[in-house]
Amino acid sequence: MPLYGPLMGETTGIHGHNADLIDAYLARPLGDGPYPGVLLLHHMPGWDEWSIEATRYFAHHGYIAICPNLHHRAGPGTADEMAAATRERGGVPDEQCMGDAAGAVAYLRAMPSNNGKVGVIGFCSGGRQAYLAACELHGVDAAVDCWGGRVYVPEEERQGRGQPLDLTPKMHVPLLGIFGNDDTNPSPEHVDRIEAALKDAGKPYEFHRYDGAGHGFFATGRPGYRPVQATDGWKKVFSWFETYLQPART
């Protein structure tokens, strides 16, 4: 696909968890394809403009990309209103998120221009959800966790509940991890623990840890944006999906 080709971007509806109809932003190249799909799980501030831009960025690079509004049920409202209302309700349950993600994957796979491959990427809380998806969600072929916090949860904070890290033996797709070494959630020590679990379970993964970057360093317009590290990080993301989602070149 030629870069800078024509794109289509629109809000559509998908059937998520419990067959609930929720909003999703869909961006895709206008050609016939075949194109790989990408499911983008937005960060905790919500289904906001940056998340929509990132979705279009994938389309710009030749992917059919979809970003479901994981806070839809707290709406209608603006992204920050729905994020605040979701927090008031106690957050997004993992089961609900995986249901919404499954709906989005099914939507991508049903598109005639999909090449039969779908990757998942998540940022911040979405990074944690991408880790869960890599372990539990059928229909995905590769995953990217961008600084997902609370994949590893210190024992004293678990309150008897599990942690995504416990699911690592079930991980069924290769995982790319992008982290900032100045982040506190996940801290470098947390990332060490995740990496150790992946090694112990013999899972294919690749981690990139950036000095001089903290949490959310891809987010343009935010004080944590680090253009040099972010530019390299995006290259790592596209290289990962190129490897696992594109058909082998003959």
Partner: protein, 103 residues
């Protein structure tokens, strides 16, 4: 932070939102990523009326230092009220009206 940790306070008063004044019933306070303030983390305070929907909301995002300054300012204002013996007469009057009509 990336957590859903929230501290709630049941409150009574009014807030001015997009559609004007509305009764607020709850303040939600968290320390997490802001939507707008140029900070990595901020104290997020939402004055809301859940029954009126997510748009019934007055939101502020403050740096930790600012939030502490705000707490001090509120305490000082309450002390002023105490000196004038009015701070304990604070509860908002709830409108209760029973109307009948002859058609």
């Amino acid at each position: 932070m990336c957590t859903w940790i929230l501290h709630r306070a049941d409150i009574r008063g009014s807030g001015k939102g997009q559609a004007g004044w509305f009764p607020i019933q709850q303040a939600n306070v968290a320390f997490d990523h802001p939507a707008d303030a140029p900070l990595d983390h901020a104290v997020l305070i939402d004055f809301v009326n859940e029954a009126m929907g997510p748009s019934a909301r007055v939101a502020v995002e403050l740096s930790a230092t600012s939030a502490r300054a705000l707490v001090e300012a509120i305490q000082s204002a309450l002390e002023d009220g105490d000196k004038q013996h009015v701070a304990n007469h604070e509860d908002v009057v709830t409108l209760s009206v029973h109307s009948t009509y002859l058609n």
